[in-house]
């Protein structure tokens, strides 16, 4: 993990800069984070200055782009998917490279005007070449197919990760244009901030309270759609502490490009502190707050909620399956099925 004090020429600070001072008129006040590392990662800078910095750093220090994608994996799923990506590429290059090499050569060697080249205008078939042209791709595709079969089952988003610890359950609700994360066990919730403990699998259950969305934290795992009235699942795990980009990749309107969130992978101690911070938050996600949250709008800064109504996630899923749509008061009283 990079030392938080070193100015990071390739920081991902593009997403969700958290201003610590003052309160944005649209978003509620939030607690200052006690963890120094996170404070420093939240600095904001002007685009102009940072672009120069970026270019200078790349030119002088040879700083590589600290990626936010799966090429810089921070968890076993992303690492496995990256591995597969390269393996598939390498195998397919076997059939692609000959084309790239031979085509210019063929065109040049057999150009009109090159009297040295043989000319056979009626030649149109050769069994050995046919067998090669069909056979090699069949072999490659067979190998790829077997790999694909095995890896698709292995990397099924619904498949629990092997671990000594039980997975941390988090419920995710896609909204326009923000993400709500509900932690049923500690009984807290957040908007646009997903904190997870390092080294422990996390089981996400996702839905949407609006249109179809697609949840992705590329450095940890692939994406999964979130759809209203339905639950999808994703298992992921972070192997190292850090701050990773999370986003929505399924277009859902005017605020789509800003629907990013931070994933904080924290050590056990830091994670407990974070949960504690949330529990001490002034904000509660009651019915009114949720209704306002579900309206269209952006959330420039993450918010932590000290509590949520019981079975909020279930209510969000179920309300699309009952007619008439159950109103807010009902879900605090009635116990819908799991």
């Amino acid at each position: 993990m990079k030392a938080p004090d070193r100015p990071d020429c390739c920081s991902l600070d593009g997403c969700a800069t958290a201003r610590r001072t003052g309160s944005h008129p649209r978003s509620p006040e939030h607690k200052r984070y006690p963890i120094p590392a996170l404070r420093r990662l939240g600095r904001a800078f002007t685009p102009h200055k940072s672009l120069l910095y970026l270019l200078a750093a790349r030119a002088t220090t040879g700083c590589t782009m600290q990626g936010e994608g799966f090429l810089s994996p921070e968890g076993p799923i992303a690492a496995a998917e990256r591995q597969l990506f390269f393996e598939v590429t390498a195998l397919t290059l076997i059939v692609v490279v000959p084309v790239l090499v031979l085509t210019p050569w063929l065109a040049w060697r057999y150009r009109r005007g090159n009297e040295k080249a043989v000319y056979r205008p009626k030649w149109e078939f050769s069994w050995p070449l046919e067998i090669l042209a069909w056979g090699v791709p069949v072999v490659i595709v067979s190998i790829l197919g077997l790999m694909l079969w095995e890896k698709t089952h292995q990397l099924d988003p619904c498949r629990p990760l092997p671990s000594g610890q039980p997975p941390l359950q988090i419920q995710v609700v896609g909204l326009d244009w923000k993400w709500l994360f509900i932690y049923p066990e500690p009984g807290i919730a957040t908007v646009n901030e997903l904190a997870i403990p390092v080294g422990r699998p996390v089981h996400l259950t996702l839905t949407s309270d609006t249109v179809m969305q697609s949840f992705m934290v590329p450095r940890l795992a692939g994406q999964i759609y979130a759809m209203a009235g339905m639950e999808t699942q994703l298992y992921l795990q972070a192997d190292h502490a850090g701050v990773f980009l999370g986003e929505n990749t399924q277009y859902n309107g005017d605020g789509f490009q800003k629907q990013k969130f931070r994933t904080l992978a924290l050590s056990d101690a830091d994670f407990s502190n974070w949960v504690e911070t949330a529990r001490q938050s002034d904000e509660q996600l009651g019915c009114d707050q949720y209704t306002r949250l579900a309206e269209k709008g952006l959330f420039p800064q993450p918010v932590l909620y000290a509590g949520t109504p019981p079975r909020l996630f279930n209510w969000i899923v179920q309300k699309y399956q009952t007619e008439p749509t159950p109103g807010c008061p009902q879900f605090t009283q009635e116990d819908k099925h799991d």
Partner: protein, 687 residues
């Protein structure tokens, strides 16, 4: 006051002054360009006094050649708009890095939606339909397609859809749901405006036209082939046209159904795809992509057909592996119906389903790879000439295989989980569409232009076009692969990650080169028309062609062939040339029956446009009137008895004699002089 308001609402539906694009100067500019363009065209035609000629020669024509040319014209106009929209989006992304840029999110949303919709339905489909329309009947030795009137109806319905999309620039806003229009985002509760309705009805018009075209082409190829032309003697372009047509017939209905069901949701408050009341958005995804995947093979197969023709002709050699290519084409056509789920691997299906569709997707790579090898082997031991069509084809091979590689990656579900909906995906499909489809279409356009118009296109500007399109594509889309792997989503109006800047700047520059490529094609056309007397090719065979379309004068007579040829070989015309049978007077000539012009297709198209426009704006009387008028035209046509005209045999004989006389008076030219003024379209037989 309410009464007058009520009357206006009856007359105009939801149309009002707020439909005008006053919300943004960019949008207002777009609208002005459309209006000005339409006005200028009308004024120009009036000033030149060409309305009558236009009416009788083109608008009411049912000649497949004229229809083909009109399809290509529609396509080139829409290509211009589509490229401009692409450039706008690329430049927005190049400047909107932690800054709002110059396009609002809503406008950007409309742009990517119209860009995709136009490029697929109103550029690519018309382009390939136009090329097939022009060349295929000639290649099979037929006089026209089986249903000429239906052919024209398809054209005018497609044009009506294109017109609707153009009108959306002036009145109202287009959908922001992308070319795929996923609900529930496109349902009334999220998009109450006219946008998705424009999208639905433009697609419906176009898809009806395409379904009819598929029927028409398939029956033509089954029934109208010249004597001796068995299936395995058809040119590869005709084979790909046949397979594409079968795909059209089976793939368009799911789209029509999907859009109609969405329309029922929107207009009649039904719940096929809503969040609640039993709706399931996943059904739309399945229906749409059940159409959508075969659709992309409809797009690519005719391009593959063009490449087959081009490689063989410009290598002066028989096409290698004809039988393999035919079977590969058929495999691709069949397999294309088994893979649609790969467009939504991330929708939460079980891994077994994902893996099955992923494996099926990879299978398609096999016949496609075989085709590429066969084209390379066509050049092998040939005599390759670097004309513009061949240069486009070489560029295609080199670039398309990268797209194929990334396609295999995307076919692997766990890898797809990472790059789905990112610009990696955007780079992939542009990688197969631009070097694949578009270069194929442009190569076909360059290749058959002399046949259609009797003069060649300017070669220098053609080469400039190759350079600009190739370099533009590489710069505009290769960076997107990297950005996609870094997690940049598609359809993004603003980018928050600074480190993406260099890549986006390069992509922006590439877009400008692509714009240059577009402009160079128009410059080429302008110069070629101006210099048409310096590059004439009236004798019909400027390239040393191998298939039957080259066995006619340029442009061919309305009835294509003076006498129907008898086919002895796969390269029918080359065989005739080699056996001295290409330019022979016939022993006797017959009267030829050709279909008369008809205004019915144009009326149906116009009626379809007004029906759709009325539906979009809830102008119910207009929608009803358009619908009734279209069917009235069909019924009225059935009462027309005099639908054919007879061309007397002596006229045909005279025309043939004139052509043969010109042939006899010309020197057959060797391939070395192919690009000179001396090439009047008569080819020397030895290479």
């Amino acid at each position: 006051m309410t009464e007058t308001a009520g009357i206006w609402h009856l007359i105009l539906g939801n149309l009002g002054y707020d439909a005008l694009p006053t919300y943004s100067p960019v949008a207002a500019t777009g609208a002005s360009v459309v209006l000005l363009g339409a006005l200028t065209l009308a004024v120009l035609i009036t000033w030149l006094g060409k309305w009558k000629y236009l009416w009788s020669g083109w608008l009411t024509s049912v000649d497949h050649k004229r229809i083909g040319i009109m399809y290509v014209i529609v396509s080139l106009v829409m290509l211009s708009r589509g490229v401009i929209e692409g450039v706008m989006m690329r430049t927005q992304q190049a400047v909107a890095i932690q800054s709002p840029g110059y396009l609002s999110p809503d406008h950007f949303g409309q742009l990517f939606s119209t860009h995709g919709t136009i490029m697929i339905f109103f550029m690519a489909m018309p382009f390939l339909t136009g090329l097939i329309n022009y060349a295929m009947p000639l290649q099979i030795g037929a006089r026209d397609v089986r249903f000429p009137l239906l052919n024209a109806i398809s054209l005018w319905l497609t044009a009506a859809g294109a017109a609707l999309v153009m009108v959306s620039l002036v009145l109202g806003k287009f959908s922001t749901g992308g070319w795929s229009g996923y609900p529930p985002y496109t349902e009334m509760s999220y998009q109450p405006g006219v946008g998705p309705d424009y999208w639905i009805w433009a697609l419906t018009l176009s898809s009806i036209g395409t379904t009819l075209t598929g029927l028409n082409f398939a029956v033509t190829i089954y029934k109208e082939r010249a004597p001796g032309m068995t299936f395995f003697r058809m040119p590869l372009f005709t084979w790909t046209a046949l397979c594409a047509s079968i795909l059209m017939v089976f793939a368009m209905p799911p789209l029509t159904v999907a859009t109609l069901l969405l329309a029922l949701d929107r207009y009649l408050d039904m719940h096929f795809f809503t969040n609640a009341l039993g709706g399931n958005m996943m059904n739309f995804a399945n229906l749409f992509w059940l159409f959508g995947h075969p659709e992309v093979y409809i797009l690519i197969l005719p391009a593959f057909g063009v490449f087959s023709s081009v490689f063989a002709t410009f290598s002066s050699k028989r096409l290698y592996g004809y039988t393999s290519l035919v079977y590969a084409t058929m495999c691709i056509a069949v397999l294309s119906f088994t893979v649609w789920l790969h467009h939504f691997f991330t929708m939460g299906q079980s891994p077994t389903i994902n893996a099955a569709f992923g494996a099926a997707t990879m299978l398609i790579g096999i016949p496609t790879g075989v085709k590429i090898y066969d084209w390379m082997l066509t050049m092998y031991r040939g005599r390759v000439r670097f004309t513009v069509p061949l240069l486009f084809s070489l560029s295609f091979i080199l670039l398309f295989v990268i797209g194929g590689l990334t396609g295999i990656i995307l076919a692997t579900p766990p890898a797809d989980f990472m790059v789905h909906n990112t610009v990696f995906l955007v780079a992939h499909f542009h990688n197969v569409l631009i070097p694949g489809l578009l270069f194929g279409m442009i190569a076909g356009y360059q290749y058959w232009f002399p046949k259609a118009f009797g003069f060649r296109l300017n070669e220098k500007w053609g080469r400039i076009a190759v350079a600009l399109w190739t370099s533009g594509f590489i710069l505009a889309f290769m960076p997107l692969y990297i950005l996609g792997m870094e997690g940049m989503p598609r359809r993004t109006q603003e980018i928050l990650q600074l480190q993406f800047t260099p890549y986006l700047l390069v992509a922006g520059a590439g877009a400008l080169l692509l714009l240059g490529g577009l402009i160079s094609l128009f410059v080429q056309l302008w110069i070629s028309v101006r210099e048409r007397h310096e590059n004439p090719a009236p004798l019909g065979d400027p390239w040393g062609g191998r298939s039957l379309e080259w066995a006619t004068p340029s442009p061919p007579p309305e009835y294509n062939f003076f006498t129907l040829p008898t086919v002895q070989d796969r390269d029918a015309f080359m065989w005739m040339k080699e056996h001295d049978l290409a330019y022979q007077a016939a022993p006797h000539y017959q009267d030829i029956l050709m279909p008369r012009n008809s205004a019915t297709p144009l009326v149906i198209g116009v009626a379809g446009f007004f029906c759709a426009f009325g539906l979009v704006w809830h102008i119910w009387w207009m929608a009803g009137a358009g619908f009734v008028l279209a069917w009235a035209a069909v019924i009225a046509r059935s009462f027309v008895r005099n639908t054919t005209r007879r061309i007397p045999a002596r006229e045909v004989q005279q025309a043939h004699r004139d052509w043969l006389h010109d042939i006899a008076g010309s020197r057959p030219i060797p391939r070395d002089e192919e690009l000179t003024t001396r090439n009047l379209g008569l080819a020397e037989i030895t290479p």
